[in-house]
Symmetry: D2
Subunit: 404 residues, 4 copies
């Protein structure tokens, strides 16, 4: 399939995760990095004929005024990731991406995110939800046309939005269409607007953030109508990955988790946005629910996410798990996770791009529930244990490989 050309459209194109995706893809293309961290580079995925690095063209939406190389150097400086040599080698590649970046929308992103907006995004301040869908959708269509792309995968890697009015889940697609048609106020968050723009172009949409994105009945209705695949939410990169791995152990051993406390500290832009309690609420919810699902009862839980500037992109999580063993004996497991957020997230984003493109190519539509292992709040899946989620993914791989 070397003839196919596939677009990667990053919503939040100059954020830490997107920047790392770009640096990573360029490094892979130029053979300056091995494939460590990429799930789709594991042996079981090799028969799938997944899209290769040199088939991908990158673009995206962004609300801040900056550029790719600047953000990459900032990551290097604040977080001691990448090597300066690598960034030097890729300078031209990174600069080339900037040409494909268009102003994002500020519709319903909340004040903390809106405060980050630069002049280009502010030019569209006050646009209605319907106007935003049209504009963003046109950007996508234009991207496809200019680069003659067979497919475009839209991935949301932007900052976490505030929670939306829960009533939104009651809306039908028809109701949303009416909202978009009118000039009146709409509660649709930006993440959902990007999803609609993607579906309008029949492009798959992947939501790597806790924002609601396409995780609405109405959106799935529209996705099925447009015959596109989608999935989300919230990439499972660190502490929650650990929970999805460790909680099943306690369950399988009938050890009673009395309390599970998790404190997260980090210092990147995401952290600054999450320092707003409203935005944080969305994230904490996403990190907390799976314990009850796995254990079958609700232990006392505490999840904190704190912005500590000196940490840069390094997230340190301390988890204290107080559990009861045989004859009422209290015991403790603690773990300390010291990982670099963007570097953990970026390869998973690349995996999701490759796997979504493959699913779309074979005609898959609707929620890609077989991708649950990638998400904290996986759409279309009620299996919260990581090991079994990964088994499900391997079964999909076997099925697709068998299709030839």
């Amino acid at each position: 399939m070397s003839q196919r050309k596939v677009g990667v459209w990053l919503v939040g194109a100059w954020g830490g995760v997107a920047t790392t995706v770009v640096v990573g893809l360029m490094a892979l293309r130029r053979n300056l990095s091995d494939t460590t961290g990429l799930v789709t580079s594991l042996p079981p995925f090799q028969p799938l004929d997944l899209v290769e690095w040199d088939q991908l063209v990158i673009g995206g939406h962004e609300i801040r005024d900056t550029d790719c190389a600047t953000e990459a150097r900032q990551l290097l400086k604040a977080s001691h990731v990448f090597s300066p040599e690598l960034l030097q080698s890729l300078q031209a590649d990174l600069d080339a991406v900037n040409a494909n970046v268009r102003p994002g929308t500020l519709v319903n992103v909340g004040p903390t995110i809106a405060n980050l907006a630069g002049s280009k995004a502010l030019a569209f301040q006050g646009e209605s939800a319907g106007e935003a869908v049209t504009r963003l959708s046109d950007d996508l269509a234009d991207f496809q046309k200019r680069h003659q792309l067979d497919q475009v995968i839209v991935v949301n890697v932007s900052s976490t939005e505030p929670p939306v009015d829960p009533a939104i889940v009651e809306l039908t697609w028809e109701a949303i269409e009416q909202q978009l048609a009118g000039k009146g106020a709409s509660g649709l968050p930006a993440s959902t607007i990007y999803a609609i723009a993607a579906f309008r172009n029949r492009f798959p949409y992947v939501n790597f953030t806790p924002s609601i994105g396409s995780d609405l009945p109405a959106l799935n209705e529209y996705a099925l109508a447009r015959k596109v695949a989608h999935v989300g939410r919230d990439g499972k990169t660190g502490e929650t990955l650990m929970k999805a791995v460790l909680a099943p152990m306690f369950a399988a051993r009938n050890l009673k988790v009395m309390s599970w406390v998790g404190h997260n500290i980090f210092g990147n832009l995401d952290g600054r946005v999450l320092d707003d309690p409203v935005n944080k609420a969305n994230k904490v919810r996403s990190k907390d629910h799976l314990l009850t699902e796995i254990l079958g009862y609700k232990p006392q839980t505490l999840v904190s996410i704190e912005y500590i500037e000196s940490m840069g992109d390094w997230k340190t999580a301390w988890d204290h798990i107080h559990f009861q063993g045989f004859l009422g004996t209290p015991m403790v497991l603690q773990f300390i996770w010291q990982g670099c957020d963007s570097l953990l997230a970026a390869p998973l984003v690349i995996d999701l791009i490759r796997l979504s493109e493959r699913e779309a190519r074979r005609g898959g539509v609707g929620v890609m529930s077989h991708l649950a292992s990638f998400f904290k709040s996986p759409m279309g899946s009620d299996e919260p244990a990581f090991a079994l989620q990964f088994e499900n993914l391997k079964q999909w791989v076997a099925k697709v490989a068998a299709e030839g």
Copy 2:
């Protein structure tokens, strides 16, 4: 099946694990404890008609001069486990067990274990391997007869022996039989002698220790000939359980483990025996091999087990996992496990007794490979990931439940 009576024969009957098994079973029988920590009390196991607490009669072999209640109080004092009220309530029950305890054998246990022997076991010092098999086997038969038991499950929970001469794996059962018949020296370790004594009586044998026990081709040959089930080795209770849970996560995410360092400190009798470097070698080997099996490559590993008297039965493990993420970024996961060894082990021993009795009742013979999730070095299984081992167990449960 309320009419069945089942014997539990504990090799190392007054050790920490056995003492906790006895206290636990008595507490369960008198409804003084809930079933936390017992895998077989989880919902999926309920259709299996497993043996209940009041059907079990306990006996065992032991080389030290002490008694059950004394050891239980010692655990309370040194390790702050059990409640004094509980031990008081169970005093008569614990005393009753002592009458079923017979002197163990010192054949090939190595000097560190031999040094623990009391007068009763020393009375048999110098017995040959063949004499030991006969004596121990008679003890088992006598136990069954006196208590009119339908079945006896023999479980090795004694101290870790030194490694044996690797040539032992080449022996056929016929060769071992000749060794046992003669008066000459035999390299057979005590753990294997107990297994032979069990098989001679057609009793299942479970090896909860790193000692070799029945994990020899010749022993399996004999088990098949006697139509008995057996399994081992080395209960997976703490740090290695964590490895079997965490390593698959690194593998599934293609994160490269560069080094995995694990330091274990604890202060029980097991720890004192493992302070002998020869005995320790057996244990470390058992804790170390699975990383390579799960990851598919060998990271630098270090496992230390140190005897720190003040810790009592509490084992603290600190593991430092240094791994490489995307674009060569080094990251770290550390965990600290603070568990009480005997309290973690005892419920698993009870589970293994119930599951072995059930397998024997349905006519199972040979290695019970479906019990791999309980062991560090599971016999008959090449699946090292805990989650998948547990799925295998659940499949066995479904099969047995379907048999009715």
Copy 3:
């Protein structure tokens, strides 16, 4: 000085710390415990002729309806401290203390503490500050008289109050006296009212809590007028002790602390009171200020205190210190403190009783600034480093010893 009899008056007499003080003093008196944890049992303090265990008589104020032995058993059950045998041996001693416990005051304790009040304390609900001073003062005088005590030391070990109106520090003693004389509203918190009651009787007052107590210019004015000694605030038992020990190391090595994050979890009554954000604010302030004092600059800091019920009286603190070394190199120190709060606090309370009695005996009046090493926010001292605070104490010891 074996003829002297000294009263110990515990404000919060049935709380965890007070209960442990009582159990500890009784255990020491009956020779059922060694002196581990008691600073005043160290060799340098031996020449001081400090008051001995059998010279002490215990009483106190309390707002809850319970009793000493019940609270002690509750600590045993929830937190696995004390041995049941110890409590059994001391049952009569503990019961005897109850007779000396009088209802505390609810004046300005805030709603969270007021909610804990039992019938005896509620009988005085609505009393004015002046009435409370009189009543509490009479209780103290009566205690002295009934037991023919040479001295009484009043120690505040009650729950943390909400912060007071900062304007209170502007008041003169005369202004406070007028408040007490009138029937009108007064902002004086209960902790200060107890201090006034103590001073009125010329009894030393020790404030082991973050509440304001005698830490007011007006109170010191009154203490000097009454010629009594006093000191506080907030016993330095765990995480903050560690800060007072570690921060000077970073300062002495010119290592730049970029951020210091401390998360505390625990599950005792104190924790439940601190779960009220208003009360917590007082505590967090007390734990946080010393870093700036020691380092000479303000790193980013975060202190959280969370109520996790399963922890009982065990406080676990995780501190993450992110510091910069030579050539801008970021490094990390983390510590995990797993201590039992009441068991850490109680011996220090006993030390403070003995040292305050000694200072009073030698005629000391006003703030006992040489006791700074015992407090998070030491009155009368601007030395925040623990090691130097302790040197100051040793200098006082040498001086007093020289006085003979």
Copy 4:
């Protein structure tokens, strides 16, 4: 004193610590680094008129064949320290140092260190101790002469030697002189030979390693005769610094340390040398003794140092301190230190150079016991607590400042 020129002679000139000293001094000279990590840059040291960066000339002895810039780049690559830009800016400075590096001696360095030797050092293989003294001494004299230096400070930052025959401490200086005069075998380790060479030139000698160096009665005799100052041993940079800070806290609070376990992992050249159990013995001894000195009793201790290649120059220490509080309650403090060894050591080496030069300038001779706070096994000091050692240093500072 801007006219003085001072030589810095690094024994182990291309090792990690020396390389960092060189990079650091050059960065300071060119104003490319602030003074974080330098004790002598703290305010109290400012009146001392210490030697400035641009007054220092660097040379040294080394047994390996490499060069300064190569080693610096290796540190950057393996340990993510320094910035590439910094090394680029300093390339010429680093290259200039190489010209002043002379072949070190292999006399009694033990096989593990000898295996590291390159062709230049091997050219002197088999030289006697006396020949070595003469050769090394001439190198120093030549260095002084070529650069017209007012003073030269010799600092041992080479790999840890195996322990020496304890009988060596019985030798008089006369006996050593006879050894040096003869051609016969001598047990004098290389670290001592360098010290003698320094003293012969009347140059101060600082031993930053656990090797014996000048810590012999005979050597001090010689130092006094030559009127030179010296000090050692073993820079206190990480885990042992923590012990010297934390153990006094346990002592001051009369908390009984039952066991103190410390596991250290790291992956630099020092680690590879310490992987030889003989060399490691010297280091472990140096890290272990101070607990007994501070606590006044010997808790069970365990110190391990393990070479884990992936760690590079980053040393992670996990310490588990099991202590007993009031009423026999066991509690735990754990800390995890993640520091970069060379970056912690280098500024202290620079401090010691400045402070030794200052002491020599004011006529100090013999052991500089006021520098104890810098060493794990400080010569001439019986104060093991860090805070008090630092007070001693500040007193010396005050005294010298008062001298004007």
